[in-house]
Subunit: 532 residues, 2 copies
Amino acid sequence: MAPSIYPDYPPDLSEEQRQFLVTSVNDWSIAHGLAVRPAPSFLNQNLGISGHDVTENASQVLAIAAPLTIFPSLFPRACFEEALAIQKAYNELYAAIAQDEEWLEGIVEELIGIDDFVGKLWETHLAVKKEGYVQEHSLGLFRSDYMVHVDPQESGAKPEIKQVEFNTIASSFGGLSSQVSSLHSYLASVDAYPSAAASLQPESNKDGIVTQSPLPASKSVPSLSSGLAAAHQAYGPSKSLRPTCILFVVQDPERNVFDQRHLEYSLIQKTGIRSFRLPFQRILTDTKLDSDRNLLYHPPHSPSKSYEVSAIYFRAGYSPDDYPRAEDWQARLHLERSRAIKCPSILTHLAGCKKVQQILATPHSPHLSRFLPDEAMAARVLKTFAPIYPLDQSDAGQEARKLATDPSTAARYVLKPQREGGGNNVYRKAIPDFLKKLPESHWPAHILMEMIEPPAQRNIILRNGEIQSGGVICELGVYGTCLWKNGGVAGKGEILHNEEAGYLLRTKGDQSEEGGVAAGFGAVDSCCLVDV
Amino acid sequence: MAPSIYPDYPPDLSEEQRQFLVTSVNDWSIAHGLAVRPAPSFLNQNLGISGHDVTENASQVLAIAAPLTIFPSLFPRACFEEALAIQKAYNELYAAIAQDEEWLEGIVEELIGIDDFVGKLWETHLAVKKEGYVQEHSLGLFRSDYMVHVDPQESGAKPEIKQVEFNTIASSFGGLSSQVSSLHSYLASVDAYPSAAASLQPESNKDGIVTQSPLPASKSVPSLSSGLAAAHQAYGPSKSLRPTCILFVVQDPERNVFDQRHLEYSLIQKTGIRSFRLPFQRILTDTKLDSDRNLLYHPPHSPSKSYEVSAIYFRAGYSPDDYPRAEDWQARLHLERSRAIKCPSILTHLAGCKKVQQILATPHSPHLSRFLPDEAMAARVLKTFAPIYPLDQSDAGQEARKLATDPSTAARYVLKPQREGGGNNVYRKAIPDFLKKLPESHWPAHILMEMIEPPAQRNIILRNGEIQSGGVICELGVYGTCLWKNGGVAGKGEILHNEEAGYLLRTKGDQSEEGGVAAGFGAVDSCCLVDV
């Protein structure tokens, strides 16, 4: 954590101001679907409907405002604009990586035997490859996550963005982030914020015309649904003479269901494209492949009808927890074999391994320029990398092992597992002890990353109807949509659609060192841009 | 209840179809704010947040889909169109009544001493009259409620609409009715309804072009907020050099808060007009009159700021329950004295007495043509009246007393109290016993109305996450917005704005003889129009 670079913010609240803001936020959020299903722990087992014991039903019908910040957090304008400006280059980079099977194979080989999940994904890919892929298009709905970093060793250092991770599967909160930026703008427009919050005021020229708003809207809902629509259109007409649809492959139950539903509603409203939610466990029950490997969806609620699936949007399947049974891997194989466009394909999923990020961000790595030939753009992307080291037997790995096992140097680092999903990071001084207990053969399943030092700031988080004030850490996620036709090696494919697709700010208390709103540790937020 | 005149509807549902529809409805409703705060009885006292006993908080932060029907109910197209077509005439009628103080005085005199509430309202009006009104504009956001009636004694009788009541204060559900018609259209557009539901299919011409949709959208949200905006504009610039705002005077707590919030959000979004929610009990604390009787609002959350109130929208104050203390009547007087435009003024509030409806609907009454000079329109309005009798000493009253005390004739009638708010009607054979126990001096506080016999139909109601199927009764409410400049006697005023403002369908199980979704007995619904 670096010292603050921001103006004094947010203003103090009287009890009446606090009450007014909380009520305004609670009501606006439900009125606009900025909501989640409540946690079962919130609804204890004594909650009954008409005298029955129906907690499960209650947690599926009740809703509550998503965990969110009362104020939009401060964010340096230049950093925000840079993050959005380079998203198309990031899309291009990861589309190229996902097409370079040989290069990915080298990475996977290092992880196989350590990370079962990566091994299983690779096996699944190989099985389809052997038979031959029948779909040459791939869709990515990506999210590149950053924190603002201020070098604590350089006085007067300018803030810059440093990448935390790049998500190639199930990038979440795009459905809610449009709503939270609207919420904060609404609160500003009705003077719900104390007038002391000067940072929230738009800049005007001498004629009183607003020239610059500090509150950028997030276009993530329409942009992400446009990405799905692009894949649907690229798929072309049904070959089986059925109506076509998109499948959202989801977890069940899903507390964050409205985040996903907003994309579904935007899709049907703007493009007329049908989509269905398919729980991961029901893939094999509800879908079939015909002899041309068209994926046919048979909705349980409408047995006489069937649909040909144009695109599969994975909001599940990103974590080993989604594959408890052998059938679950059969299900993933089944989808990968199909002619539907995958969002993402298995190679695209694997491109999101932290190992890939680590290889790109290892100092003096030759890989970035290989995948991103535009030198100026590659330089801007490179600037967003925080140094990342492998924990393997390479020279960089040996260096990293020294840094990680020495408590005095470990204090500037975080140790992260290669596989997806938060909750398992090890921070700073805890790293040496953690490694001591871990067999050395398992060390390469982790990477060592220099801690990003975000400037101190404060905010108020509303969660489960209760507020907490204090220091916070913000993570900016920039969405990108990219549709490409696979080439055999990097650069040979053709990009058909490439867009920056809005942003998300996620904010957590600075006492916690874990991220992830879904895991209950963070809140959705939007940016209040400041020139610093 | 008349026999059904409708096609077979809705189609039977398999367990999978039912499940799919319920999930779709629960998710769409929360994503679009078609919601209420859950009833405290739903959240029992054992519900805790972080171990605290916070049921009150929980019931203010949790939400649940509003009670609603899974299918749009069938409604005769001709009846629907007629109800909308005559709304502007109804607006004109009630604007004229509200301006005829002398005529209203005659009615009030009959009720005073029987109905304390009417007496108190009248006293309040007289007090302001003595001092002199300083605002000549009045706004009505009205709702005229109808049921379809099929004469059970005439075979092959055409369905017609009969008025149940006319609401001049706090007409509710306009904020949700736009949403419920959107919900049903969404479900039809994604084939969530079984294909057997032929009534839901749009009609097409021979070229396949849709010529007529069976699912009319309700424009109530934008229309009602436009009505409020018209009053705001008519008020003109602030005289006290403050920013202006509209006040929503509300009950607190309010489970139906989203219904009201949707109007507030539409108002700020479309017109930029600020509005605030003011609990009825806080009127005297948070507002002041200056020497010109400008109404000044001092928001508790922003003590340094104050606003001049252009219009007061009452969503509270319609029932004696809102006036437990003497200060509550002082508060109503305080608002009535102010220069703000009232929605409604006390005279407009009184124009909504059931006694007024009864006098207009007493067979051969001369009053309708007096207030509504357009003969053709008056004839169409007259056709919507079900015969209504006073229970007083007049000739019609004597006749009514005979009908009401004889169990064989009472079976075709309903007895209603003159004052507002559901829950106290006495039906059919229960009427003679009820009157036997009531002192005869109190009889004139009620009116006797011929029962409307709606055609039988079925639907599925979702409430608190549980569904109930069965016979239902539907009530169509048509909203109207009307702004006028008061004249001294009927017809002399000037109407500045007069619009039909969308519709609401409210549906209840036919086992219950009580109405009112707020009271927990009904559900919001929309129309599936049929030609019968």
